[in-house]
Amino acid sequence: MKKSSITQFVRNTMVMGVVTMGVFSCTQLEDVSLDKVTDGSSIPPAQLLASANSYMYIFPSNGSAMSMNEITTDEMQGPTRGTDWDDNGVWRQIHEHTWTATNGNVVLAWDEFNKGHALANEVINNANSSALIKAQATFARAYYMYHIMDLFGQVPFKEVVGGQVTSKVLSRSEAFTKIVGDLEGVIGTLADASATPSQSFVATKQAAQGLLAKLYLNKGVYTGALAGPYTFAAADMDKVISYADAITASGKFAVNQNYFDNFATDNDLKSKELVFNIPYTGGVNPSPSADGYGSNQRLVYPGTHYNQNPSGWNGFTTLADFYNSFEAGDVRKGGQVINKSVSGMTYGFLVGQQYDQTGAKLTDRQGNPLVFTADCPLNGANERQGIRVMKFSPDFANPIAGANDFAFIRYSDVLLMKAEALLRKGNAADGLALVNQIRTARGLKALATLTETSLLAERGHELYNEGWRRNDLVRFNKFNDPVVNRSTASPATRRLFPIPQKEVEINPQLKQNEGY
């Protein structure tokens, strides 16, 4: 390099440098976002609502709230099988009622429902939102608050008045009043359920009525002492009946004669029971979070064995006592092959020898015939133990994200709620008729009498693996009773889950639930 040219170059760049420095120096250090919207007022409220609704998809999953409502009960367990499903003991804890305030499923349910709540607030408090959109967001918030109230008993709430945010914590009964008030306030604004299935969630009048029926049915639990006994006021039961009747009166719903159509990949077309429906599209994982929670794959995969199609996760099973409580001929037990051309998988409970699509016997990974047996320990189980649950049929075209919609409240549930309200009001005869309407559709003989015990059993058989068992058992005061693989009764404080430890630490308004 020639000296002079270097000199020239450096001189020039120096001059440029000094000029540039002048431009850059002493900036205001503004935090500029280059890839995100920062002006909320420019966003159409409908898009904010779509996000707020997306946390609905957290519920139809194996972990989180679903496990808290199913594995805690006489209906399901998550056994550890050698290398599978230890997961720091979270599944065993849930079945044994020994969960802690750091259990991942408990924390996830708390976080996700509350996040949905906050996003719904963003729509409700948005000046651009129409009355309908506000009503739909209010419905979504009521749904999220319902879960927090039902599972945790305390509902943190941020009140916005004139742009000022006040944080408070609603007690269970305050939350009940708030949720019911909100729903009843918007029910007139919400639209009727549509005859054509929607690909995305829409809050409807009938969904709100279904949720209100559920709330009034449980009012005794939500406003009474945790340990019970609960009293169910006749006025509340009348509310349940009137909301159930309103749903029937809409003329859009009926009990499906083919039970498994309610859970099929095309259930949006075949089922007449989807009152509060969370719709899925095949191939789309609508999960709002990156952890995969929200995909309905998680209703199919937890139980099936690796060597079955679809190859599952070899985990959850129903319990022997629960399986044995079904009457012979109950179509809800399933047994028919779902799709002979691709798999030997059957509907309902998977019991005994499993086959592939050619009819050949499947084996487990140790080479033993794959025969699912009823008895299954909670720890140290082998691959064949335990009856698996295949209520939502696999979507063989979209194994990871099936097209099966999930009805949070199904029409059969509405009728059973009405039957229960009638029974609690002393009108067992009218209740019995409703129960028998369902039993007939399920291939069973009519019952002669209706008792709390037979109604609870019927609810279990009709609604297994749909996320209602804990709610039902609590209401019938059976939640803490011993079940298979939990030999002693648990304390009544287990009817509520603990506020996650990390939350108690940062929100002094929350007091940890009793017993934790």
């Binding site: 450096v10 935090d31 890839d35 996000s51 997961d87």
Partner: protein, 1007 residues
């Protein structure tokens, strides 16, 4: 220490000193410029330069004719030849030795012997925005030059130092070529991933963020981030200084809390151009393999498990050593050439390096080309100096399926461990053997069908100018830009067995991720120096502005229609876009932040005995809200050179100095931009948009307050010297994504955590000239660090330390706990097996140790005998623990029962085949080790040639011997994939890329 080994490379080894003496030489040359008419009377003068200490010939000594720009260097034997007139004066100079000037007179042979200066004290260390003589240092600064560096295959500059500096702990993520390294200076203080120090290359502070678009490959986890410093050629490095304490690092204020590593590259020297060439070839293989069951032993275990051994899916027809299928003997070649020289006004240096390194896992490699140019020139009566420096590199990484966060279906490492040894590689029809299971991965098909590769281009350009306004007052301006562009391509071929669960229709999956980072830096400094009698004053004032821009995009595709064997990332458009298929997914991001700083430093010393330095840096960052945009980082330190006192005149100590310092430094690395603004993000699955963050104007700098005391001493006339330092650092206001009070649009929100992390300890460094007689010298040096890390206060539950494997979802082993070291293991106590062979575990988790060694040490020996020299470096650590996640997930009876193989040391005959996989103290092991890290033997070769000045060959070995009780491969490893709640874990070993043992033969010549 003796400089023999590197002297004949012809490069004075301490740049700071060299350039100073050059400067002086040049200045004198100008002022005493004599007529060039002397050229007419030139004759050839020759001679030999020897070391006054041992009489050996000194290669690489700079010989110049005073007042001219003629110069040369001594050859390998210390001989030189130069043309000079009778009235000329020859100047002999070499770093660390007193310069000599000798008049030629009528002699034609001129032999000179140079005396070593008190080397340790006259060494110059680079400190932030300046240099300092070691004897004047008041902060804790360690400096290493090329002779002290590790040898062999070196991917990045910090590997040159691994184990050699007290207080600096380096843990490589894995044995993957170019893998990242965790560097902790005086302990780990921050909860965020990045505890690495600030790197400053020739005064330019770098953005040391990861440079890989880690959006994740298809069903195989995310790749291990590459070391951001891979772009610097280790051969270009002259010296590395490490500012360890706050009083030294405070000049870097907000970026100094993790310490500062200052890298100085080689510069051209005054005199004739010197051309260096070196080449090396290396052979590497796995230092240790897993001790797996042989096919017959495996069959016996299957029988013990009660499995049907006649079933071909349990005992297959093959016999395969899967480690052999995956691992290989790897070769590396490295070439470096450089040319540097200059005159009294100009210096220039060019270098070009090429390295092609194979990984010991097949189909993994890193090759890179690195070039560097720097030049400087003096103008206007030498009052102005201008300079440029340009480093550019292209690195091609080829990653195998080796990510640390892979699921149960496995990657190359987990499959080579646990795949049934009775299975063949190929089925009888020539296809890859598979059991038909949807997640059955054959490692050979993974090697051939899973591809992940991409280039990284990085260019660092710097121009600067300094102007001596009046004597003692110098203004300097520097402008630099650092550009990184990287692409990561990954794809799983169509119909690859074992991907049915992650690849729709098994029709292939591909991702292409691009990322660009640009850092622009402008700095102005004003330096003042004045000596008045015994008062020595130095002052610095400066302004610095940096802008960090980062952007990237990512496209992912599925449903390919091309035949198997096609490069899917090159053909990402060939997908089936019909029906309900959604073959494409894309994301992009862009962010930026700015840092604006004002700083000053004033130093005073009286008579070279009493030293006082004060520093203040004010940093403002766009990442912080209006309420706390600026952070103030002061430091003060002082020293007393006791040996300079009259009463110490005849003492045993040739040097004795006491140092003390106090300072505050900040940290905002790893903390993202845009936390002070409200932001909304889209959700592609439902066409919605949700609020993601609510502006927080109160966020403030994480800060570390530290104090320390140190003693520097040398005795026995400098034969034994050493340093002892005590340090105590407390980090507060930790920036952390803390849980947000619900209901909230976010689960976590960046906050200043009300917690303190305290790191305290003692560092000892000793150097001893064991033998120094004639041809034989033996120098030994040792360093040791005693570290105590503790989380002293924490009011929040933070669960971290994710572990991986089947049946271990959501499992963690490092809940942060006050009163214990960060990342301490808390797991149930393992009390053996019950009668059924199931774990007996304590109900509560107990403290099972910390991943941080309480003591780490290094011991170096350099021997030189005539033309031979030998260097040996041993290092070790004790008191730390490691969680063997590999053994938990892939070992013992339960995995055998799945038909998987296991390391023999992980099998316990008492364990049931249906035992659950649970984290417990059973898998927490001591990470103590002693390692023979480096052994090199080299020989100078005398060449009777006027063209070649020096030639040498050397053979070195790396990672030669490891003594450890650890049941994995190597206890010095960490799984970077294992992060949870925004915290990277430490001390968790999970299917790590095995480490290599490497032998390197190299040849070096200068011309």
């Amino acid at each position: 220490m003796n400089n023999h080994f590197y002297r004949w490379f012809g490069r004075p080894v301490r740049q700071g000193a060299a350039s100073k003496s050059l400067l002086k030489t040049a200045l004198m040359a100008i002022t005493m410029l004599v007529s060039i008419s002397i050229y007419a009377q030139d004759k050839t003068v020759s001679g030999k330069v020897t070391d006054k200490g041992d009489g050996s010939g000194m290669p690489g000594v700079s010989v110049s004719v005073k007042g001219s720009n003629r110069g040369t260097q001594t050859d390998i034997n210390g001989a030189y030849k130069i043309a000079a007139g009778s009235n000329a004066t020859l100047v002999f100079s070499f770093v660390g030795y007193a310069k000599q000037e000798v008049a030629v007179g009528n002699r034609s042979e001129l032999n000179v012997s140079l005396a070593s200066e008190d080397k340790a004290l006259d060494e110059v260390v680079v400190i932030g925005y300046g240099t300092q003589k070691v004897k004047d240092a008041t902060g804790s600064v360690s400096s290493l030059s090329s002779k002290d560096f590790n040898k062999g295959v070196i991917n990045s500059p910090e590997q040159l130092l691994q184990g050699r500096v007290a207080g600096v702990q380096m843990t490589p993520n894995s044995g993957d070529p170019g893998a990242g390294i965790n560097i902790n200076i005086r302990g780990t203080a921050s909860l965020r991933g990045n505890n690495n120090p600030l790197f400053v290359v020739d005064n330019v502070p770098l953005d040391n963020s990861d440079v890989v678009n880690n959006a994740g490959a298809v069903g195989i986890g995310t790749v291990t981030s590459r070391n951001p410093l891979n772009f610097l050629n280790p051969a270009d490095i002259e010296n590395i200084s490490i500012l360890k304490d706050a009083s030294a690092a405070a000049i870097y204020g907000a970026r100094g809390a993790n310490g500062v590593v200052l890298i100085t590259t080689k510069k051209g020297k005054s005199g004739a151009g010197v051309f260096n060439f070196s080449m090396s070839g290396s052979v590497a293989s796995a230092a240790k393999k897993y001790d797996l069951l042989s096919p017959s032993e495996f069959k016996a275990e299957m029988q013990r498990a009660g499995q049907d051994v006649n079933n071909k899916l349990i005992i297959g027809s093959g016999s395969t050593d899967w480690q052999e299928q995956v691992l290989r003997t790897a070769f590396t070649q490295n070439y470096n050439m450089s040319f540097g020289g200059g005159s009294d006004k100009t210096s220039y240096f060019f270098s070009l390096g090429y390295q092609d390194q194979q990984g010991i896992i097949k189909n993994t490699s890193q090759d890179k080309v690195q070039a560097r140019i720097n030049a400087s020139h003096k103008l206007f009566d030498d009052k102005v100096t201008v300079g440029v420096a340009l480093t550019t590199a292209k690195i091609n990484d080829v990653y195998g399926a080796t990510s640390g966060n892979v699921g149960f279906d496995g990657n190359l490492v987990s499959r080579m461990i646990n795949l049934n040894p009775t299975f063949p590689v190929y089925a009888t029809d020539g296809s890859y053997f598979t059991t038909g299971g949807v997640s059955f991965r054959n490692p050979v098909s993974l090697l051939n069908n899973f591809h992940q590769y991409g280039p990284t281009n990085r260019t660092l350009a710097n121009i600067f100018a300094s102007w001596e306004i009046v004597k003692g007052l110098t203004y300097k301006a520097s402008l630099s830009q650092d550009n990184v562009a990287t692409t990561l391509n990954s794809y799983v071929d169509v119909n690859t067995p074992g991907f049915q669960n992650s690849v729709p229709n098994n029709a292939g999956g591909a991702t292409i991720g691009n990322q660009n980072r640009t850092t622009s830096t402008i700095e102005h400094t004003l330096n003042f120096k004045k000596v008045v009698g015994k008062h020595d004053i130095e002052a610095l004032a400066g302004f610095s502005y940096q802008k960090f821009a980062n952007s990237g995009s990512n496209v992912q595709a599925n449903y390919f229609t091309v035949p198997a064997g096609t490069n899917l990332t090159n053909n990402i458009g060939y997908v089936d876009n019909t029906g309900s298929n959604k073959p494409f997914n894309g994301t992009s991001f862009a962010n930026q932040s700015e840092l604006q700083s004002y700083f000053g430093r004033a130093s005073y010393n009286y008579d070279g005995k009493y030293y006082l330095t004060g520093t203040l840096r004010v940093d403002g960052s766009s990442k912080f809200g209006a309420n706390n945009k600026y952070g103030y980082f002061p430091a003060v330190n002082g020293a007393w050179k006791i040996s300079g006192e009259e009463f110490m005149k005849d003492s045993f100590f040739s040097n004795l100095k006491l140092r003390a310092g106090y300072g505050v430094t900040g940290n905002s690395e790893g903390f993202p931009a845009n936390q002070t603004v409200t932001t909304f993000i889209p959700n592609a699955n439902n066409a919605g948009i949700s609020k993601e963050n609510i502006a927080n104007a109160d966020l403030k700098w994480e800060s570390t307050t530290s104090y320390g005391l140190g003693i520097d001493f040398s005795v026995m006339k400098g034969r034994l010297s050493g340093t002892v330092d005590y340090f105590n650092k407390t980090t507060n206001n930790l920036l952390f994504p803390l849980s947000a009070p619900q209901p909230d649009v976010a689960t976590t929100r960046w906050s200043n955590l009300d917690a303190s992390v305290v790191n305290k300890g003692v560092e000892v460094t000793l150097a001893y000239d064991v033998i120094k007689s004639g041809d034989f010298t033996w120098t030994a040096s040792a360093n040791a660090t005693f570290l105590d890390n503790k989380l002293e206060k924490l009011n929040n539950t933070v669960l971290t330390g994710d572990i991986f494997g089947q049946g271990l979802s959501g499992a963690y082993v490092q809940p942060l706990t006050a009163g214990y070291p960060l990342y301490s293991f808390f797991v149930p106590e393992f009390k053996g097996f019950d009668a059924k062979g199931q774990n007996i575990l304590s109900e509560k988790s107990i403290y099972a140790g910390s991943p941080f060694p309480t003591m780490s040490w290094g011991l170096n020996n350099d021997l030189s005998f005539g033309k031979w020299s030998v260097g040996m470096f041993i290092n070790g650590q004790s008191g730390g623990y490691i969680f063997n996640n590999t053994a938990l997930a892939l070992g013992g009876a339960p995995t055998l029962n799945q038909g998987n193989n296991s390391d023999k040391s992980w099998i316990d005959a008492k364990e049931s085949f249906t035992n659950g996989l649970a984290a417990s103290t059973r898998f927490v092991e001591k990470s103590d080790f002693v390692r023979l890290s480096n052994l090199s033997i080299s020989r100078r070769i005398a060449v009777e040639s006027k063209h070649i000045k020096g030639l040498s060959v050397s053979l070195s070995g790396q990672n030669l011997l490891l003594i450890s009780s650890y049941k994995g491969l190597d206890p010095e490893v960490t799984n970077p994939g294992a992060s949870r709640n925004g915290i990277a874990s430490r001390g968790i070993d999970y299917v790590s890329y095995p480490k290599a043992r490497t032998f390197t033969l190299s040849l070096s010549a200068n011309f």
